[in-house]
Amino acid sequence: MRHILSILVENEAGALSRISGLFSARGYNIESLTVAPTEDETMSRMTIVTVGSDDVIEQITKQLNKLVEVVKVVDLTDGNHIERELMLVKVRAAGKDRDEMKRLADIFRGRILDVTDKSYTIELTGPGEKLDAFLQALEPGVILETVRTGASGIGRGERILRV
């Protein structure tokens, strides 16, 4: 099953490689990984999307907690949560397709960030499936380039992850 792990980690050199190294050394999957400092600059928040049975997820959580630089680990999928991902996609937008592309971006609440004679660069945020759906809605061949951040997640309501 797919799980989203939120991790608070000391903002120190090497912390990221310790975590990614753990996943590769023990054969766990990483679907996506995002990381950036939090409002407290000494700490980073990481979101890892992984896939595994309950036993595997339990081991991943325990192994992460065992790393000296990891402050806290929470499995967001244990409760209600919000998940968002940012995608930048550069598409061919010429001729009769140009208007259609604009309309499609509007439908998905995308924003066009950059325009040339032949292309649009569109920004899109949402859960991963929405971004997938947008890409699927495009004609094959119009996609010139995509870049996705991977999921970031946060608990709904009063659930708070902090020290």
């Binding site: 980690v9 000391e10 050199a13 090497g14 490689s17 310790r18 190294g21 050394a25 036993d55 339990e58 081991q59 325990k62 192994q63 907690n65 065992k66 000296v68 630089e69 990891v70 402050v71 020290v163």
Partner: protein, 568 residues
């Protein structure tokens, strides 16, 4: 007071009460060696290869419960030490490894003797640090010592660039450190402990399965009291030997791949299994699916939450220091009027005695060849069971574990997790230095001993009177055994042709060498060797080449699917 980085490091070691540093100098650590030279409190032991430095620090720690310290230079100094660091990591040994690094401005430039030490060692240390600012040096070393010995212990590495050892900073050694991201749970959950005690008191066919955690956490006294109070059978893993007295009638011997018939049958057929500081590893429980065919309740006490339910699902997990949890259990049991059903226990013991009648450790005592088991039995007799025994890896290791009855913890020093050949001799050096005057024997084989034989030179320099018991069958015995059982007697590369004359080799290093070829000479030779209190004696026993370690659970088989000696 402003001190240089090198001065700071040595001051920190002094503050930590470090007696010995095992190491080898080189360019990046010259400043540190210069400071070591200027003082006398911290003594340095010069090994002949950095692997030996790590193993010696490790043996020092295992035999004393103190933190072992080693010091090596950058690049090859580090890579040579990696085997020793990984060995300590797999067996959770508290060690601090200090490594030199090229100057900070040269890092990443492929400088001479540069390697990514922190990267290379990351998967085989509990934690590691690269210190780029001399102001952080003292606090980092404090953290290293703190991390190494708390929670689940392990090696911690501090990488120090050469310019940091030259730079100056105000010296202050913190009395303690706290890390917000590191707070191991050390006290077991009271409710879980109660549940566990209830299970134990209601057990009809109980089994105690204790591991290295008991030794590491100095919990032998508590374990022994618990087992005796309840009258339960007890097995200890390879790492746990000595955690419960090996000569005690309630001790059933080793479990697992080369465990006794009775231990394995009891592990499989018990109704309540209590795992104490042990981790259900593949060499202990065999095939997990087979292990799970039996219906039993499992209690698991361990300091490391990730050891619990990793390979085997347990019913009552208890995270905490083994000693503290056992103290609490003892308190509850002693204050309870309830005791395990004596009739059920009597029947269970009768069943175990029946298994013991198989006499699974018997061997041919009339052979005209020296039987390795016989050598170990005689070693036990002659040392009164009171020696510190180190070993390398292979058949000889298993024979010591089976035939030398360790009554006390920290007397049996071996590489259980990583299985590192070459461990025995340097570990024995560390053990002797930690226990001056102790009888220290290194049981080894002609293949293993050659992996760190250069340390014979270190033994000469520091007058380390270790007795090396070489069980020489001219084969990598365990490899040969597997090839005999599973590879149609095709002994691919397991035969050691062109062996040195170990007697003369020992003499060349300035030691005493003895070669023993007849069973009748074994006892006399051992007695003579152990009489020489101030000399290293290398005893080269020419043993039966065909001898195998029994019982044996073949890889992938269930715990009770043992091959016994009689079946062949």
């Amino acid at each position: 007071m402003q001190l240089t980085g090198a001065e700071i490091v040595i001051r920190c070691l002094q503050e930590e009460g470090v007696e010995y540093v095992f190491g080898y100098p080189g360019g990046a650590v010259l400043n540190l060696y210069d400071e070591l030279f200027k003082q006398e409190q911290v003594k340095h032991v010069l090994v002949r290869h950095e692997q030996g430095a790590a193993h010696a620090a490790d043996g020092y720690s295992r035999s004393s419960h103190k933190v072992g310290v080693c010091l090596v230079t950058s690049g090859p100094g580090v890579t040579n030490a990696v085997t020793g660091i990984a060995t300590a990591y797999m067996d959770s040994i508290p060690m601090v490894v200090l490594t030199g690094q090229v100057p900070t401005h040269a890092i990443g430039q492929d400088a001479f003797q540069e390697c990514d030490t922190v990267g290379i060692t990351r998967p085989c240390v509990k934690h590691n640090f690269l210190v780029k600012d001399v102001a952080q040096l003292a606090v980092t070393i404090k953290k290293a010592f703190y991390l190494a010995q708390t929670g689940r212990p392990g090696p911690v590495l501090v990488d120090i660039p050469k310019d940091v050892t030259q730079a100056k900073a105000e010296y202050h050694y913190p009395k303690s450190v706290a890390l917000r991201s590191y707070n191991p749970v050390t006290r077991g959950h009271a409710g879980q402990i109660k549940k566990a005690v209830q299970l134990l008191l209601e057990a009809k066919r109980p089994m105690v399965y204790a591991g290295g955690g008991v030794v590491l956490n100095n919990a032998s006294a508590q374990l022994t009291r618990l087992v005796r109070l309840l009258g339960f059978p007890c097995t200890t893993t390879l790492m746990g030997l000595g955690g419960f007295p090996g000569g005690d009638p309630q001790f059933t011997g080793l479990p697992g791949m080369h465990g006794t018939y009775e231990s394995n049958m009891a592990m499989q057929n018990c109704d309540v299994l209590i795992a104490i500081g042990s981790r259900f590893d593949d060499r202990v429980i065999g095939n997990p699916a087979h292990f799970f065919r039996a219906d039993r309740k499992i209690i698991h006490i361990d300091i490391d939450p990730s050891s619990i339910s990793k390979r085997v699902k347990v019913d009552v997990p208890i995270v905490g220091y083994v000693a503290e949890v056992l103290d609490e259990m003892l308190r509850l049991i002693e204050s309870s009027p309830q005791r395990p059903d004596p009739q059920a226990l009597k029947e269970w013991w009768a069943e175990i005695k029946e298994w013991q009648r198989k006499d699974c450790l018997r061997y041919d005592r009339k052979s005209a060849l020296i039987k390795p088991q016989y050598v170990v039995e005689k070693l036990y007799e002659i040392t009164g069971g009171d020696a510190i025994v180190t070993s390398d890896v292979g058949q000889h290791q298993m024979w010591v574990a089976q035939y030398y009855k360790f009554d006390k913890p920290r007397r049996w020093i071996n590489s259980g997790g990583l299985g590192t050949m070459g461990f025995g001799l340097p570990a024995a050096m560390g053990a002797f230095l930690a226990n001056p005057g102790a009888t220290v024997a290194c049981v080894t084989g002609e293949a293993s001993i050659q992996m760190c034989i250069q340390e014979l030179s270190t033994c000469k320099q520091y007058h380390l009177p270790i007795k090396i018991v070489n069980l020489n069958n001219k084969y990598m015995g365990m490899v040969r055994q597997w090839q005999e059982f599973f590879y149609g007697n095709r002994y691919a590369e397991s035969y050691m042709d062109a062996l040195p004359d170990f007697t003369r080799l020992a003499e060349a290093y300035g030691h005493v060498g003895m070669k023993i070829e007849k069973p009748g000479d074994v006892e006399g030779a051992l007695r003579e060797a152990f009489k020489q209190k101030d000399r290293l004696v290398f005893l080269d026993f020419i043993t039966d080449q065909a001898e195998n370690v029994f019982p044996m659970v073949p890889g992938g088989k269930g715990l009770t699917e043992m091959i016994l000696a009689e079946e062949l």
